[in-house]
């Protein structure tokens, strides 16, 4: 059994060799066959863990990365992330098989595709198995980036790029909010380890960071899981190749948000805010997604909205389930805890039926060239296998027996009915909304599920409407993955408890550890509960659904009444445009193109940061006791130096200014002599002489100094900045004199005769101890020399010619 770290890293490592495989073998073998190894290996390595995990054990692993910062590759596994790991690798396997038939090996750049896919797979495994909040964050953003690359896979298409950008902007925005939330949460909990945060349980609820951390983290989860109002990126993400839509946007990435909410339920659950935000947003998304799905003509867009809606359903179940933590252990909490079980169950079911549906839509698109239900129809006899799978998938989604969706849908109804009686969180006033919203959304779910089946497969077969006639059944290999998923859809309905005992219950216990500790948390899934409210609701859904589906033509136009201006998409684009124009205006304001302004920013920053930190850190102390005595001659030289510097300031003539600056340099030579620095004095003397000559040479060519006609304000700003900068430098110098944090290291160099055979210590440092630095210094000097030479020699000949001719 390879460790968790190995499992997470395998896809990343394998992605390195994909280009070579592609180059070497692609004209004979589809690259996908090689890539298939990765999810298969991961899936089969996860299987042996199942026995351990279902008996209540957990696996934990940590590899030191930056231990001094508390940053390690910490991974762990319990029931919850095991399910996700199995879904990621299992559906990953099927998707890779499917993609082998979907993507043509001669026309597509498969190496790119599979590298992105592997990157995504690794990142996703990293997200679910991380035990460290920052590690989780890094993998989380990696999923956003790889999803961006996958959506924009057909980057020649304008819509692909736009969809990719949209998903990136929204998910990364959420990711950043989540990072802030993680930091607050870690500060509150005093640890970065997720297991330890969970261990702290509800103890954090009194902390002032509790609510902000919760909201920020939920922003991350909601954007990733396409919850209302962040759902708009998911339909646009459907520009990706269908294997990707099946993988990322139905089974895995969008479930990352669900995972995060489930994972952190022990931390936040039990509070009214968590309950209302999670279940409220979930229900709203459920309704929004299902209502919007019905109006779509593009099958993939329809599935995208249905995914949004189903994710909302799972989210709301997690919210409802969190109420269990309000009570602590007891009979009443077990009732609500079941909702969490239903959430996990539906998560698995959704991955199976939605994955298979996406693959079928992909097949239809592949074989007919169209996904538009206005063009499609009558495919039942031509594609019988696809039709069967579509029926299984859609009916499961609609919540009909004998498919797994029925079981979890019943549990969902059960949860929304029971939650009305919750004696907390104002449920006596608002509780009735839960079943009502759930029921209406389910009716719409039923309608769009029927649209998928009957608008595509029933009706008249009109071949001339297709882009790639004649339509025919897909190759067998392409049908295998959806068939396997469809088998699960049916299999889970008949034998739900095998799955329930081995995988769902451990995951359930992982979400609610405080309740699971007592060992009483068990649930047996059953299809028949007698004539219950839930069953009545399902029958009502079917009845209303059938009526509304049959009359769809009559009321569909109602959608047109909704003003285009207020769709989420318009709001998104309006915001994006505003953001661009505002940031452009701001940039325009301060990026003036004036060197002086930029200098002012630099010096102002210097003054503020240096000055502030000097005082904020308490570093400013004046200690005059170590001062060397003031010598009269030195004082005279210093005063003379300052006077010459001031001369530059007030002089009106070029020659005076240049001579005055040179004078400053020569006075400094004296200071160096006084301060026991003979080498410096010599160097300064030479350099100053050469610079003076240079100045005088160039001065001949430079224009006369004009009397600067400037406004008072211009001068005043300059003066303030200048004086403040000087003051900060003085303060820093004084502070540096007042405090000596470390003794000088120069003692070492004083043995230069023994070490380097040199009597001149400064020289020894330059040419022996730090010889390499000096060499680089000479290099800089050479570059400057070359620059000077080139500038003098360079005549912008070409440009001059252009200007003359123009």
């Amino acid at each position: 059994m390879p460790g968790l770290f190995a499992l997470v890293i395998i896809p990343f490592l394998f992605s390195f060799i994909v280009p070579f495989l592609y180059k070497k073998f692609n004209n004979k073998i589809h690259t996908g066959w090689f890539v298939l190894i990765v999810p298969l290996v991961i899936f089969s390595s996860l299987i042996p863990y199942i026995a351990d995990i279902s008996s209540g054990k957990t696996v934990s692993e940590s590899i030191a990365w930056m231990p001094s910062l508390g940053l390690n590759f910490s991974f762990y596994m319990d029931g919850l992330n095991l399910i996700f790991g199995l879904l990621i690798s299992g559906i990953g396997t099927l998707v890779v098989v499917y993609s082998i038939y979907y993507l043509d090996k001669d026309k597509e750049s498969l190496h790119n595709f599979y590298i992105y896919l592997l990157l995504f797979m690794g990142a996703m495994l990293g997200v679910v198995f991380s035990d460290h909040v920052f590690l989780l964050y890094v993998f989380w953003e990696l999923t956003s980036i790889s999803s961006f690359l996958l959506i924009a896979y057909w980057y020649q298409r304008e819509k692909s790029r736009a969809g990719a950008l949209k998903s990136l902007l929204i998910t990364v925005f959420g990711g950043l909010a989540m990072l802030a939330g993680f930091i607050l949460l870690s500060l509150a909990g005093g640890t970065y380890r997720i297991t330890e945060l969970i261990g702290a349980g509800g103890d954090l609820s009194g902390h002032p960071f509790f609510l902000p951390a919760m909201i920020l983290i939920l922003l991350g989860a909601f954007t990733k899981s396409a919850q209302f109002p962040f759902s708009i990126w998911l339909p646009d993400a459907m520009e990706a190749p269908t294997p990707i839509s099946a993988y990322l946007h139905s089974a895995t990435m969008v479930k990352a948000g669900i995972y995060l909410v489930a994972r952190l339920t022990p931390v936040f659950g039990g509070s009214a805010e968590w309950f209302w935000i999670v279940s409220g947003v979930g229900l709203l998304t459920l309704l929004y997604g299902s209502v919007n799905a019905v109006r779509q003509y593009d099958l993939k867009a329809l599935l995208a909205y249905s995914t949004v809606s189903q994710l909302g359903l799972i989210m709301s179940l997690l919210g409802i389930g969190s109420a269990a933590l309000y009570f602590g252990y007891g009979d009443e909490s077990v009732v609500y805890a079941t909702a969490v079980f239903a959430a996990i169950f539906h998560l698995v079911n959704h991955s199976t039926f939605k994955g298979s549906l996406f693959m079928i839509i992909g097949i239809i698109d592949h074989e007919t060239g169209s996904r538009d239900i206005r063009r499609l129809g009558g495919l039942m006899h031509i594609m019988p296998v696809s039709f069967t799978i579509a029926v299984i998938g859609s009916f499961s989604m609609a919540g009909l027996p004998p498919f797994n969706g029925f079981l979890s849908k019943e549990m969902f109804f059960n949860a929304v009915v029971l939650i009305r009686d919750l004696p907390a969180f104002n449920m006596d006033t608002f509780g009735v909304l839960f079943p009502v919203v759930a029921w209406i959304a389910s009716v719409f779910t039923f309608i769009y599920s029927m649209i998928i089946v009957f608008k595509t497969f029933a009706g008249k077969y009109e071949e001339e409407r297709f882009i790639k006639p004649p339509a025919h059944e897909a190759p067998f290999g392409m049908l295998i993955p959806p068939i396997i998923l469809a088998l699960f859809v049916v299999g889970i309905f008949f034998f739900p408890n095998g799955l329930g005992r081995t995988l769902l219950e451990p995951a359930w216990h992982a979400v609610l550890p405080s309740l699971a500790g007592t060992g009483e948390l068990h649930y047996t899934i059953a299809a028949w509960h007698g004539w219950t409210t839930e069953l009545a609701m399902t029958i009502g859904v079917v009845a209303a659904g059938i009526i509304l589906y049959l009359t769809l033509k009559r009321w569909r136009s109602l959608y047109l009444y909704y003003p285009q201006r207020f769709t989420l998409n318009s709001i998104y684009y309006w915001l994006l445009g505003k953001m661009e124009s505002v940031s452009y205006k701001i940039t325009e304001k301060y990026m003036t193109g004036s060197a002086r302004h930029y200098m002012i920013y630099i010096f102002a920053f210097f003054i503020i940061v240096m000055g502030m930190s000097l005082f904020a850190s308490g570093g400013f102390t004046i200690d005059l006791s170590n001062d060397a005595p003031v010598n009269f001659y030195e004082l005279v030289i210093i005063i003379a130096m300052i006077l010459s510097a001031l001369t530059v300031l007030f002089s009106k003539s070029r020659i005076t200014s240049i001579i005055a600056v040179s004078a400053v340099g020569f006075f400094i030579v004296f200071l160096f002599v006084f301060f026991r620095a003979p080498d410096l004095a010599l160097t300064q003397l030479v350099v100053e002489t050469v610079s003076t000559v240079l100045f005088l040479l160039v001065f001949y060519h430079l224009p006369k100094l004009k009397k600067e006609i400037t406004r008072i304000r211009f001068k005043a700003v300059n003066a303030v900045i200048a004086v403040a900068s000087g003051l900060v430098v003085t303060l820093v110098a004084l502070a540096a004199n007042g405090t000596r944090l470390f003794p000088s290291i120069s003692k070492y160099f004083e043995d230069s005769y023994e070490l380097a055979g040199a009597r001149n210590i400064v020289n020894a440092i330059l040419v022996d101890f730090r010889g390499f630095d000096t060499m680089l210094e000479i290099t800089v000097l050479t570059i400057a020399g070359l620059g000077v030479y080139a500038l003098i020699k360079l005549r912008l000949a070409g440009r001059d010619k252009d200007e003359n001719s123009g």
């Binding site: 003036t592 193109g593 002086r596 200098m599 170590n626 060397a628 003031v630 010598n631 030195e634 210093i638 130096m641 300052i642 510097a645 300031l649 070029r654 240049i658 600056v661 340099g665 400094i668 200071l671 160096f672 026991r676 620095a677 003979p678 410096l680 160097t683 300064q684 350099v687 610079s691 240079l694 001065f699 060519h701 430079l702 400037t710 700003v717 300059n718 003066a719 900045i721 200048a722 000087g726 003051l727 430098v729 003085t730 110098a733 004199n737 000088s744 160099f749 004083e750 230069s752 005769y753 009597r759 001149n760 400064v762 440092i765 000097l781 400057a784 620059g787 500038l791 360079l794 912008l796």
Partner: protein, 112 residues
């Protein structure tokens, strides 16, 4: 002495900054030269002044002034010179090509 030097450095720095903020190219170059001097003196002052003899062995001294700042400054002086030289030539060429040394007239951001 260090205190006096600290103020002297501050004044030099202030004058240098003021010159850098003016419009004339020549003044800006002179300003950078002054800032260079100020920083050199700052390093020297921070290392402690006259704490011993010149850092030369074999002259009978046993206590030396800090040699490390001096080595750093030696490098700095040379680099300063390189910068000033490059700057001067740049200014000269800019004036030749563009016909002005007024920074306000030289501003532009079309090519960014």
């Amino acid at each position: 002495m260090e205190t006096v030097m600290s103020f002297a450095v501050g004044i030099l720095f202030a004058i240098g900054v003021y010159l850098v903020l003016t419009k004339s190219l020549l003044r800006i170059i002179l300003g950078t030269a002054l800032i260079g001097h100020a920083v050199n003196l700052l390093i020297l002052t921070m290392g402690g002044l006259k704490t011993g003899g010149a850092p030369l062995l074999g002259l009978g001294e046993t206590k030396f002034t800090d040699s490390l700042p001096q080595a750093l400054m030696l490098t700095a002086i040379v680099i300063n010179f390189a910068i000033t030289a490059l700057f001067l030539v740049l200014a000269y060429r800019a004036y030749q090509e563009l016909g002005t040394d007024d920074m306000e007239k030289l501003r532009g951001k079309q090519d960014e």
